[in-house]
Each structure stands twice: as structure tokens, then as C-alpha cells.
């Protein structure tokens, strides 16, 4: 599955509460989005199997298949459609579970309408940026014997091993590759890839950088491309630091 193309204005709402679902759908339509509405996890997976969309608003406690499982199944299918969890389970452990399942953002019920719309816009904006940045000349990145196809979320590393990139890995790589040689702060990476307050700390960025090093560095312990700038952030060197 590749980046959703013309479908970024289409949103699927998966919510088993008819009133809440209807309220969310009405408001998204009023904002100009195309919105579809299903009430359980199985219907959501069936819907997503046939139609592309730009965002899934996903309740966690759903009949048939819960929201976390729906998200995991999507990711296993290679579907990188952004997922915003809407759920009554708002404690930190559940937020982490949602993001580990492959979710992009997490909004606890009851939520403010403006915040919901803001987050929806932010996620879609990130995808718009990723899509435009991955079009034509920006679709492929080559560095140190590695080759990354941003549209397909696939890569071939220096040793010939094929890699399947997650949506976040690809986005981080894209942000870094846009400004080779420049220092990019962790906060900037968080803002560009996740949004503002999804994660409690910038350590998440560090973990993703470690994953990129394992995929693309000849010696992850002595990186040449993904360099740490202590106390600030990271610098990407396409030619490799000597």
C-alpha cells in the first residue's frame, strides 16, 4: 500500500455510539471532508479493504474487533492510512498501547470539537506534506548504498536486504533528508511527524533514530548518516560523515 493519493479529504469514522458518531460525522462534513461512518471493527476493516482514505477516526472499544486490533491489522496489511484513536480510555498506558498498535494520534473522550478538528487537520496536513514531498523527484532517496522508496514505504539497505518502513520511519527520514547537513531538533521532528502533544517525551524520536540506524548504517554503534548532535537533535549526512 502506498500513500493515499486523492483520497486525503475522505475520512472514515468508526464509532459504535450512534449519537457521538453522528456528531463527529456532521462536523467533519461541515468542514468539507468526505466522511463515511461504520459502527464496528469488522465493518471498518472491510471498508478499508476496498476504499482508500486519508484518515481513520477509530474508537477503541468496538463490537466484533476492537480498535487496537483494527489498527494492527491495517498495519500488517501494509496500509499506512493515518489513524486517530477516539476513546474513553484516556490513561497513559492506553495511549501508549494505541500508538504501539500503529496509531498516529490519540484523543480521549470527552473531547473538545475544536481540538478534534485541529488534530484532524494536523494529521492530514502532515500527509499532504509527505505526499507532495514524495512525488516525482522526491520519491527516492539514495545514501551510503541505501535506497529508499518513500511512496512504497520500502527500502533496500547497503547490504541488499529489503526493508519495509513504517509510516513514522519514512516520515522521519523524509524530514531529515529534506535538510541534509542541518541540525534538526527532536521537538521539530516530533512536531513534523507526530504533531504536538502525542508523546510525553522526545525519547520516542531517539528510539526511531536507533531503528533507522539499524536499518541503514553499516555500523549502528558508529553512525555515518544519522548523527546525534548532543543536547539538540540530529543531523542527516547523505554522503556519510568521515
Amino acid at each position: 500500500m502506498t500513500v493515499p493519493a486523492e483520497s486525503t479529504r475522505r475520512i472514515l469514522v468508526v464509532e459504535d455510539d450512534p449519537h457521538l458518531g453522528a456528531g463527529v460525522v456532521e462536523n467533519l462534513r461541515a468542514e468539507g471532508y468526505e466522511v463515511d461512518f461504520v459502527t464496528d471493527g469488522r465493518k471498518a476493516l472491510d471498508w478499508l479493504d476496498g476504499k482508500p482514505c486519508g484518515l481513520v477516526l477509530l474508537d477503541v472499544m468496538l463490537p466484533e474487533i476492537d480498535g487496537f486490533s483494527v489498527c494492527r491489522t491495517l498495519r500488517e496489511r501494509g496500509d499506512n492510512t493515518p489513524v486517530l484513536f477516539l476513546t474513553a480510555r484516556g490513561d497513559p498506558a492506553d495511549r501508549v498501547r494505541g500508538l504501539e498498535a500503529g496509531g498516529d494520534d490519540y484523543l480521549a473522550k470527552p473531547f473538545h470539537l475544536r481540538e478534534l478538528l485541529l488534530r484532524v487537520r494536523a494529521i492530514l496536513r502532515r500527509w499532504d506534506w509527505y505526499q507532495s514531498a514524495s512525488s516525482a523527484e522526491g520519491a527516492t532517496l539514495r545514501f551510503g548504498g541505501n535506497e529508499v522508496d518513500f511512496r512504497a514505504f520500502r527500502a533496500r539497505s547497503w547490504n541488499g536486504i529489503a526493508q519495509e518502513l513504517t509510516e513514522k520511519e519514512a516520515m522521519i527520514l523524509k524530514v531529515l533528508a529534506e535538510r541534509p547537513g542541518e541540525i534538526i531538533s527532536r521537538e521539530d521532528l516530533l512536531e513534523r511527524v507526530w504533531g504536538y502533544d502525542v508523546f510525553p517525551s522526545t525519547r520516542t524520536v531517539d528510539n526511531f533514530i536507533l531503528r533507522l540506524r539499524k536499518r541503514f548504517e553499516r555500523d549502528p554503534a558508529d553512525p555515518r548518516h544519522f548523527l546525534t548532535v548532543w543536547g539538540v537533535g540530529y543531523r542527516f549526512m547523505s554522503e556519510g560523515e568521515t
Binding site: H19, N27, A30, R89, F111
Partner: protein, 382 residues
């Protein structure tokens, strides 16, 4: 490590330390008794020596025996009486036996106390855990209608809406408030049932009449959801029950059936009451979403919700069938549920022992299979 586990280990250590302490105490007492007996033997040996000296000095044997009763004289030869020896041995054994009994008693009493305290603490921990889990579940149940309410209000505040749209949002908000009120009622009912704070009357209640009243109360909602409701209750069928509790049971069963049928766009609900073997049975059969047979027992647990609520007007709290089960237990009856599977409809069956029915009235052999009351019991909506 959890507190009850820590307490159990501490209690075990305490019992072991106490056992060692009592064992040491027994050994000490045994040693003390043996020492005392040896000392007594030494005293008696000195007495025997003194008696022998008196005999050697020419004191008559009878006089020596009077002065020293523990000494016997045979042929001018003094010796310790075997009775004294036996007495000393018996005294030693008596002391040791006494300490053994007392020690065992203390150990048993200590173990019993620890067991009682551990049991109380475990029960308390269980109650606290249940309360915490109950509170978490309750707050979770409230968040969705609250979110819906907030969303409707913010929509009205943020957007210019037509009069029709505003009215629809107001109706939605009123429905959200009504469901929260219903949740509060059900939560309070379930808490009262859990604490046994409910005093049920037992009197003969006409089952057909009770069903008809409940059906009448849901007439409008069933019509709105395109659900046909009918009742087939044997004439004169009575159960010994609390009328209010029976009303709560029937309402909850009916709500559950409505919730199962509404999401599929309508269907039917049928109440069937009959005398069967040694029981009076009331089955509520619906053509709704059904459930996996393995999920049957879960239906009656707190906060269990198997029905998808979308597409219809159902907002379950997950407490209705739990309340039904608890009330039926208190009434001396049973409730069960069966379904052939998802999409196959379901039947929930209430059963009371036939013996509790009104003794003066025999079952009517002419069974009415028609609707109970044309005005209230049968509602056909299209």
C-alpha cells in the same frame, strides 16, 4: 508485590518463628525439669547419706524413717524409696506434657488468628479492587454520552445551524441526558442488589398482566425502531414474586431485546409464558443481532455489552441483564440465554419453580396462543 501476598508471607514467617519459639521453650522447660529432678536426686542422695550416718550413730531405723520419709531402711542400710523415684519421674513428665499442650494450644490459636485476619484482609482487598474496577467501568460508561453531549453543545456554539438541525441536536442532547439518568438508576439498582439492601415481597403476580404493562410502556420506542411486539402467555399464569422487582426484570429484558433488534433495522420480539414441567417459564425471543453461544454466560456479567449499538437507538449500560440475574436469584428463580449465533436472534428465559405459583389456581388447560391484549400487547409497526 501486592499487599495481601506480603501479608501472607509475613503471617507464615510469624507462625514459623512462633513454632520455633515454642519448640525452644519446650526444650528449655524439658531441660529445666530434668535439672530440677537431678537436683532433687542429689538432695535425696544427701538425705540418704544423712540417714545412713544416723543409723550408724545408733538412731533406730523407725526414728530415721519418721524424720526422713523418703528414705527406707533395710538391714541398717539406708536407700531412697522407689515411690520417691517414681514421683520425681512422674512430676518431670507431667511438666513436659503440660508445656507441650500449652505450646500446641498457643500455636493453634496463633495460626487461627492469622487465618482470620488474612481472610478479612483478603476480603477487604477484593472489595477495594472490585470498587476500583467498578468505578473505572462506570466512569468509562459515562464518557461516551458525555462526549456526545459536549460535541452537540460545541457544535451549536460554533456553527450557524438551521432550526431543524438545532432541534435535532437538542433531541440528541436530551436523549444523552436520559441515557445518563438511566445509567445512574441502573448503577444504583445494581449497587443495592450487591449490598443486599433490597427487601422483596412475595405475592402472586399475574404474569400476563405484568408483561402487558411493560410492553405498553415501550410502545412508542418499539414503533420508532420498527419492531413488532407480541405476547403468548398461558391464561391465569402466576408467579410468586415482588411486583416491582418483576417489573424491573421485564423492563430490562425488554430493553435488551429492543437493543438487539434495533441495529438491524427492525424485527420482532415475542414473550412466551407457559407452565413447563415443574417450572413456570417466560421466554423473550427476539430476531435481533444474537450472540456467539460461548458468550451466553458473559451476558449476565456487569458491564458486559455484546450488542453493537450502531445504526439503532440502543445505548446499553451493560448492567441490565446483571440486574435481571441478581433479582431472579433473590426471587428463587433462574435466567438463561441462548442464541444460534451472531445474526440469529436470541431467546432469554426466566424460570420460576412452579411450586411457588398461587396454590389455589390450577393451570388453565385452555391455552391462549393469541395476543394477550389487542390494545397493548401486540404492536405491529412497519
Amino acid at each position: 508485590m501486592k499487599a495481601p501476598r506480603v501479608f501472607q508471607l509475613t503471617a507464615l514467617a510469624l507462625v514459623l518463628v512462633s513454632a520455633v519459639e515454642v519448640g525452644w521453650w519446650l526444650l528449655d522447660q524439658h531441660r529445666f525439669a530434668v535439672d530440677k529432678v537431678r537436683e532433687m536426686h542429689e538432695v535425696y542422695a544427701q538425705e540418704v547419706g544423712a540417714a545412713q550416718a544416723l543409723l550408724d550413730a545408733g538412731i533406730p531405723a523407725a526414728r530415721v524413717h519418721t524424720l526422713m520419709p523418703g528414705v527406707i531402711v533395710t538391714n541398717q542400710h539406708a536407700a531412697l524409696s522407689p515411690d520417691v523415684d517414681r514421683q520425681l519421674l512422674a512430676e518431670e513428665r507431667r511438666h513436659i506434657a503440660q508445656y507441650a499442650w500449652e505450646g500446641s494450644f498457643f500455636i493453634i490459636a496463633l495460626a487461627a488468628c492469622i487465618a482470620v485476619i488474612a481472610r478479612a484482609l483478603r476480603a477487604e482487598a477484593r472489595v477495594i479492587q472490585e470498587q476500583e474496577s467498578f468505578l473505572a467501568l462506570v466512569s468509562h460508561q459515562f464518557k461516551t454520552p458525555l462526549a456526545s453531549l459536549q460535541l452537540s453543545l460545541e457544535t451549536m456554539a460554533m456553527r450557524p445551524l438551521s432550526a431543524e438541525h438545532s432541534r435535532a441536536l437538542i433531541e440528541r442532547m436530551l436523549a444523552d441526558l436520559a441515557r445518563m439518568e438511566g445509567m445512574v438508576t441502573q448503577i444504583l439498582e445494581s449497587m443495592r442488589l450487591d449490598r443486599g439492601r433490597i427487601d422483596l415481597r412475595r405475592e402472586p403476580v399475574d404474569l400476563g398482566g405484568a408483561v402487558a404493562r411493560v410492553i405498553a410502556g415501550f410502545e412508542e420506542r418499539a414503533a420508532k425502531d420498527r419492531i413488532a411486539v407480541s405476547a403468548e402467555i398461558e391464561r391465569g399464569l402466576e408467579v410468586m414474586a415482588d411486583p416491582l422487582a418483576l417489573d424491573v426484570i421485564l423492563r430490562n429484558l425488554f430493553e435488551n431485546a429492543l437493543a438487539a433488534v434495533a441495529p438491524i433495522g427492525g424485527g420482532s420480539i415475542t414473550f412466551i409464558g407457559r407452565r413447563l414441567g415443574g417450572q413456570i417459564e417466560l421466554a423473550v425471543r427476539d430476531s435481533g443481532v444474537g450472540f456467539r453461544p460461548a458468550d451466553g454466560p458473559r451476558l449476565f456479567q456487569k458491564f458486559s455489552r455484546l450488542h453493537p449499538g450502531g445504526g439503532g437507538s440502543h445505548f446499553g449500560t451493560g448492567l441490565g441483564l446483571y440486574i435481571v440475574r441478581r433479582l431472579m436469584q433473590l426471587e428463587g428463580g433462574q435466567v438463561s440465554a441462548r442464541s444460534a449465533g451472531v445474526g440469529q436472534g436470541a431467546t432469554l428465559v426466566l424460570a420460576w419453580p412452579a411450586g411457588v405459583a398461587h396454590p389455589d389456581r390450577a393451570p388453565d388447560p385452555t391455552v391462549s396462543r393469541g395476543p394477550l391484549d389487542p390494545q397493548t400487547a401486540r404492536r405491529e409497526q412497519s
